[in-house]
């Protein structure tokens, strides 16, 4: 009961701030929409390139990337909030009032998920309105959104771990840059088979490549490597959860 009190309290406050403060809400909505419109619209002729074999068209191909990207960055943006709270001193209130401090991290995490749900809903509505073809059934789609949700949690745990270690908003680039690199070193614009040289070699070992491939497969109703993708995503979530909780201990030790 006490743990849930902390979790729900932290999540409520984080969401309230995001929803009632346009400067916090709009970027997390506008960036994915901008990317989706820019990539799916501006690069739509890529689907005519020989070797582009995704059956649901370029809009669906890009939708999966933008969905996963919004999930990852939604988590990272929540990590910014954690850093802001530590820098501004509000985290002390949470640390002082919470019998179970692990609940603070879970509360921020829950807020990251709910915040991303708003973005994902808007993105999905716009993608469907712009004619995105969906081949997968309900189970496939639940799989796609679950995979994105795990990536959202990974992004949050990663950035929260940094935020609680450094306790300053100046750590923002450190939270953002590795996620950005990981996302864009995956097959973003064309399938893996069409990537060449070093980019292909890097993408082959990038866990996001597997998540993207499986996600696109789920949307098309023809998913491959489902176990591997979910396994990798869950393993990353587990590793980053330990990273975040150790970050919390580091913040506790620093006072």
């Amino acid at each position: 009961m006490r743990l849930w009190g902390v979790v729900s309290g932290v999540a409520w406050r984080t969401l309230k701030n995001v929803i009632t403060t346009p400067s916090l809400l709009l970027p997390s909505l506008m960036f994915p929409l901008f990317f989706f419109v820019a990539f799916a619209g501006g690069l739509s002729q890529v689907q005519n390139v020989p070797g582009f074999d995704y059956p649901n068209g370029y809009t669906a191909f890009q939708f999966v990337f933008v969905l996963l990207q919004s999930a990852a960055f939604g988590g990272v943006f929540t990590g910014f909030g954690v850093a802001r709270d530590f820098e501004g001193g509000f985290a002390r209130r949470l640390m002082l009032a919470s019998p179970n401090r692990t609940g603070i991290v879970i509360g921020y995490g829950l807020a990251a998920i709910l915040r991303w749900c708003i973005t994902a809903t808007l993105l999905t509505v716009i993608a469907l309105a712009s004619g995105m073809k969906v081949g997968g059934g309900p189970v496939d789609l639940i799989g796609l959104y679950t995979l994105a949700l795990i990536i959202n949690i990974c992004g949050f745990f990663w950035s929260a771990g940094i935020a609680m270690r450094l306790r300053t908003l100046q750590a923002g680039p450190l939270m953002q840059m590795p996620v950005f690199l990981l996302l864009f070193l995956a097959p973003v614009y064309v399938p893996l088979a069409l990537l060449g040289g070093a980019m292909h070699a890097v993408a082959k070992f990038n866990p996001i490549t597997y998540a993207l491939g499986t996600g696109r497969g789920l949307l098309a109703g023809d998913a491959t490597q489902v176990g591997l993708s979910f396994g990798l995503a869950l393993a990353l979530a587990l590793v980053f959860s330990v990273w975040a909780l150790r970050g919390l201990r580091s913040a506790e030790a620093a006072g």
Binding site: M1, R2, W4, G5, V6, S8, G9, V10, W12, R13, K16, N17, T20, T21, G88, G89, F90, A91, R92, R93, L94, M95, L96, A97, S98, P99, N100, E252, A253, G255
Partner: protein
């Protein structure tokens, strides 16, 4: 089972990397229901002690039990019995006062049915009902302090930590806060651990006072006992004519120990000597003075006697102490 709302500290130490010992092996005991004033200049170690006692900072060495629980190993239990209003009120400028109270009731797992009445009761108690729906970013310093106090009281703690609660407040807000703290101790039997750099605050509020300087407790006792310990009263004389200064100083020296002062001539009276003795002697000598005053010892005199500096001088950094 009776509740244990005492604070017991033994040889508590906190060292920071690349820094001095902020708290250097202090011992103290605060009895249940007592208001304990922790007095010292900036950088003396007051706030670091509070951070350790409220489980926000682990001690480097020593032990502390708050409400019967060990701050090192029973942090969650300590946090369940304490309330704290820290030096820089930890408030979110984007939330309203009511939002803060709602959040606090959630964090403290107050049953849902009790949350609203408790919020209203506390807003009323600290006089913030009218401002409850305004964002805290627009609150004055006094309003923030009052909200911080209300937040600390949400779960009816048995021990309350107040870290310099009136710093920066106007006299009216300061008095109101003093009244509320005194009421909490008197009526609700809350143990209050109060840090301050204001002598008057410690004198008015505290049942007992601990004076900390450079991380060590240099004196402890009731304000009266501390003043009595160092203390006989002193006589402060302002000569009418500058040429009489030396003559008056020589005369006053017969009645007590001279104390340094630029403007006035000051002596701490010897046992059994009163103001009347000094006045009679001056009259007999034909000395004329502008002003003569008998002053009871203050806590600043206690600080001076124990550290060789005045509290005001120490606070402005005359001792070169760094802020901790």
């Amino acid at each position: 089972m009776t509740r244990d709302n005492s604070i017991v500290v033994e040889k508590l130490v906190r060292e920071f990397k690349k820094g001095p010992r902020a708290v250097d092996g202090i011992d103290l005991y605060v009895a249940p229901g007592e208001i304990y004033g922790f007095l010292g200049p900036n950088g003396a170690g007051k706030s670091t002690t509070v951070l350790m006692l409220t489980t926000l900072l682990p001690p480097t060495a020593g032990s502390a039990r708050v409400g019967g629980y060990d701050v090192r190993t029973e942090g969650p239990k300590v946090r369940s019995v304490i309330g704290a209003a820290l030096q820089e009120a930890a408030l979110d400028p984007l939330l309203t006062g009511r939002d803060h109270l709602k959040l606090q009731t959630m964090l403290q797992a107050i049953p849902k049915a009790e949350r609203k009445p408790r919020q209203e009761e506390l807003l009323d108690r600290v006089g913030l009902t009218d401002a409850a729906d305004r964002k805290v970013g627009g609150y004055s310093g006094g309003m923030k302090r009052r909200l911080d106090l209300a937040l600390a009281l949400v779960h009816r703690p048995t021990i309350l930590f107040l870290d310099e609660p009136t710093t920066g407040l106007d006299p009216q807000s300061r008095t109101a806060l003093w009244e509320e703290v005194a009421r909490l101790a008197r009526e609700d039997k809350v143990t209050v651990f109060l840090t301050t750099q204001y002598l008057e605050e410690a004198d008015v509020l505290a049942d007992r006072v601990g004076i900390i300087d450079n991380g060590k407790i240099v004196a402890e006792g009731t304000p009266t006992a501390l003043k009595e310990e160092i203390g006989r009263p002193s006589i402060h004389v302002t000569p009418c004519r500058e040429e009489d200064r030396q003559r008056i100083a020589e005369l006053m020296k017969q009645y007590g120990e001279p104390l340094g002062s630029e403007r006035e001539l000051v002596v701490r009276l010897r046992e059994g000597i009163g103001l009347v003795d000094v006045i009679r002697a001056m009259d007999a000598d034909g000395v004329v003075v502008d002003d003569i005053e008998l002053r009871a010892p203050t806590l600043d005199d206690v600080f001076l006697a124990k550290t060789g500096r005045t509290l005001e001088g120490a606070a402005t950094g005359e001792d070169g102490a760094s802020a901790r």
